[in-house]
Point group: none
Chain length 223, copies 2
Amino acid sequence: MLVVEDDVTIAASIAARLRAEGFTVDVAHDGPAAVEADASVEPDLVVLDVMLPGFDGLEVCRRIQGRRPVPVLMLTARADETDMLVGLGVGADDYLTKPFSMRVLTARVHALLRRVERSSSVAGTRIVLGDLEIDVDQRRVARAGVAAQLTPIEFDLLVHFARRPRAVQPRERLLSEVWDWDVHGTSAGTRAVDSHIKALRRKLGADLIRTVHGVGYALEAGS
Amino acid sequence: MLVVEDDVTIAASIAARLRAEGFTVDVAHDGPAAVEADASVEPDLVVLDVMLPGFDGLEVCRRIQGRRPVPVLMLTARADETDMLVGLGVGADDYLTKPFSMRVLTARVHALLRRVERSSSVAGTRIVLGDLEIDVDQRRVARAGVAAQLTPIEFDLLVHFARRPRAVQPRERLLSEVWDWDVHGTSAGTRAVDSHIKALRRKLGADLIRTVHGVGYALEAGS
DNA sequence: ACGCGTCTCCACAGGATCTTCACAATTCGC
DNA sequence: GCGAATTGTGAAGATCCTGTGGAGACGCGT
C-alpha cells in the first residue's frame, strides 16, 4: 500500500491508521517520489492526494496506471475538484473529499480491495492459489505443477471453492449453487457432497480442503 | 470508554453523565496518561479534548489510532479550531465545539457507536474487538494473534456475543437465538450454555466473557 | 442393448461434539 | 456472617457428524 500526500502530518496519520488495519504502508510526499516508490515496492493500492509538489496527483496517477493496473483512491480538497477529476477520466477507482474521517478512508480502502479482488479472480480465466492452479476456460487443474483430471462436478466444486478462498461453504449452499438443487429442509442428499470432496482430496491432496465440523468445507489457500 | 480532558470538573461531569448512560468510563487528564489508559483498558470510544498538558489531543489521537482503530470524538474550544483539525485530517470521527450540552454529547456518542457497530458488522465477514479477531466466513478465531479452534456452537455463540459487544445476553436469549430452542417456561437445559461458556473461556482466556450474576453473560471487548 | 464413466446413496465405524448431572465454589440479599 | 440461589467444573453417556468403501442408477455414445 502506498500513501502519497505532501502534508507530512496527514500522511503519517493515514499511514498509521492503515498499518493498524494490518497493511504494509509506504509513504511518498511528492510526485516523483510517488512514481519511484510505486515502481520499487509495487503496492496493491495507492492512496493519492491530488495536490502535490513536483507534478500533481493526476500526473502521478497517469504514470502509475500506465505502467501497470493498480487501484487508486484519490484524495481531493473540494467536492468540485472531484467532479473535475471524474470528468477528466483520470482513472482513479474511488474519490474521497477532504475532510474525511479515518473510518471512511479505511472503509473505502477495504471496499476497493474487495472490488479488485473479486473482479480479478472472477473475470480471470485463471485462478492461482498458492500451489494450486486452475484454468477455468480449459477446465484444467494442477497442484504443485502436476496436473489432475477431474470430473465435471469435481471441477465445478473446486472452482466454487477457489472463487471464495478460505471461506467455509455449507453443504446446502454448495448443493444449491453447484448442483442447482433446492434443498429446503431436506437433510437427505447432502452426503453427495462428501463423496466429491473425498475425490478432490484424493486427486489434489488431503490438505487442500478443510472440513469444518457441523458446517461444511473450506479451501485452504496455502500461504 | 475513555474521557481525556485536563479540566477536572468538566472531566468529572462528562464521565458522570456517560456512566449514567450505562457506559464504563475511564478518565485521563493529560496526553501521556491518555495514551497509557487507552493501551491498558482499550476503550471502544475516546472522548478527547484538544488542549492538553504533556502533548496535545492531536498527538494523542495519532498515537491511539496508530495502535488500533478506535472511534474518537474530539472536543475543541472554538469553531475555527475544529476547522483546523478537520483540515489536518487528524482522524477523529466527530467534533464538538465547547461549550456543548451533555445532551448533545451523549447523542453524538451514541450516534458514533451506532455508526461503528454498523460498519463493523455490515462490512461483515471480519469482526475485530480489541485483541480478538473473528473471521466469520472462514470460521476462524484468534486472540492476541494466536488462533483457537472452536466447535460449531462455541463459534456461533462467540459471534453472537461479538455482534453485540458488551451487551448482556440472558441464557434464554442465547438458547433461542443460537440454539433455535423454544424455551418458554422450561427451566431445564439452560446449563448447557454454561458448558460452552466454559469452553470459550478456556480457549480464549477467562477475561473475555463476563458473567452477570442472575442474568447471563457478556463479552468484554478489551475494557 | 451394451460398456463406460460418473453420480447418488447407503451403511458402518470412528470421532467429535453436545447435553446433562452431581458437586464444589462463588455471589447476593439480609 | 449466613443461607439460598447461582455459577464453575469435571466427567460420562448420548447424540450427531464425517470418512470410507461399495453398490446401484443414470446418461451417453457406440
